[in-house]
Amino acid sequence: MRIVVAVKQVPDTADVRIDEERGTLIREGIPSILNPFDEYALEEAMRWRDELGGTVTVMTMGPPQAEAVLREAVSMGADEAVLLSDRAFAGADTWATSHTLAKAVEKMGNIDVVMTGKQAIDGDTAQTGPSIAASLDWPQVTFVGFVRELNQDSIIAERYIEGGCEVIRSSLPVVITMLKDANTPRLPSLRGKMKARKIEIPVWGREDLELPEDEVGLDGSPTRVVKITTPEIISNGEIHHGEPSVLAKLLVDSLLGREVE
């Protein structure tokens, strides 16, 4: 079983702050981390590799420093890693990103499953997984909380949707996107850490993937960000102080007042 896990290096958004005067993100001093959703995809991939044999290859598209998340994944147990990095990839939206990732999967050849986190915590789009599937013309199973079965021909996965859980069977090859809390990602092992230090990570650029200039990066991106603002807060609520019993009466007034409406 050959599984590719697509991961992303993201800023820890819990720490992102806004420069109120300029309306820009303050990125300085914010640690970069492996996208938390991708950790569950990696763990699910390694769990099946451990059972069936085969390899888990992690890949990411990003600047040279994104290599750090690949080494982290290797320390957790991934077998191989590939970095897709080229100045021409900059400014990519989800169309161009998935297009580039899909090309890399084609270049690897004979891949059975591509797994990735449902979404990245910086963009929150959840679009890259299904777009990779479209690029490869593979089926997709998104919002997966658990992979029940995997064999040479098919996969059975639980897909969590509004109001319940669908159990889906798909033929291989397939793209799977994983939910948070799907499993318990393992910690880096000592052996993994040693391997992560030594492993040579190939870097593939635009020409390695035989992609034309207008299909990558900004030129290959149909969408553009034109404005960034901080969400407005409208503050006009009445705030009450006082004895709990008095506050409770006021609270019930406003609650039941609305029930009558």
């Binding site: 109001g163 404005k227 609520g237 009445e238």
Partner: protein, 397 residues
Amino acid sequence: MASIEVRKETCVGCGECVPACPFGAISMEDSLAVISDECTLCGACESSCSYGAIIIRTGETGETEIDQYSGIMVLAEQRDGTIDHSTLELLGEARRLAEADESSVSVVLLTEEAGDWPAKLISYGADTVYLAEDAQLKHFRTEPFSRIAERLIIKKKPAVVLAAATTTGRDLMPRIAKNLNTGLTADCTELAIDPETGGLLQTRPAFGGNILATIVCSDTRPQMATVRPRVMKAMDPDENRSGALEKIDLSPSDLESRTEVLEFNPLDEGEVDITEAEVIVSGGRGLKSPENFALLQELADLLDGSIGASRAAIDAGWVSYPHQVGQTGKTVQPKTYIACGISGAVQHRVGMQSSDFILAINKDETAPIFEFCDVGFVGDLFEIIPFVIKEIRQRRK
């Protein structure tokens, strides 16, 4: 490949572009604008420069004949033959956008049996209903749904295609957009037509709700967006509205799929979907222990409401994940939202700020929740809520 260039001979060093850059990528060095690697080529500086000194060069892009595309197409979502409320919200929003440029609104319904839904969709704002009925369209499956929608989009050339940012919409739309080589914006909370270009301005939260980004898709069509449920308003149905019904021809190959739904297990009873609740009593870090949620449950039961929770309470294991409200949980829009011991950080706010009426109880009067609630009570929830429960019981007697 695309590049950005500052023309040295034209740049006067006025510095206007520095604050115009949303990414802080421009600095002034020796009276010349210098652009760092933070640049995403967004173009904000190009339009801010009064001297035309900043130029973004893009590679040759294939021109779509944009003018041939018009109207707004909504992809309806149904489960067991019932249209999801989000579809009606999208029709209301599509109607509003269509008024701006006097275009039309269509809706695509793929289902086993439509019943009287086409007429209802027209009453909620559609001018045309495109309908395909087949037993194999009973459940959503990515491949048949995307294949049929793609073919219809190529034929009908809508300028805008919208779907709800549900698990269905977020599965389906990226596939369609990739195959049609066009742009897609995820989980929008605001849509508008740019009066200058006629293009769709798509606004969405990113970075955990810390920022709002406005995104355009200027060179390709259709402009596609998924829209967060319970943010847009459905219009009041008008049974006198007229509209057309057009059947979509299906061939057996349209229905082929490499995935199949083996079973569907609905949520357990009692584990209600909080996005459907009219009243939500929600607890956060201030609850201190799982046992204390019983107090909120008692209040929720009195009000026929459901229990919500902030991420702090979920991470502590006090309440299960289906109850989480916020950026990484659910977006809710109940008639009444009662926030108890929740500070109101941005990640929570984005999941509940569209509630009709927000009540907050918190000991800390500086908690951010008091900046955007409708009524706030500064005090200890363990003292206030028992009085509230008693008071409601007394008044109802």
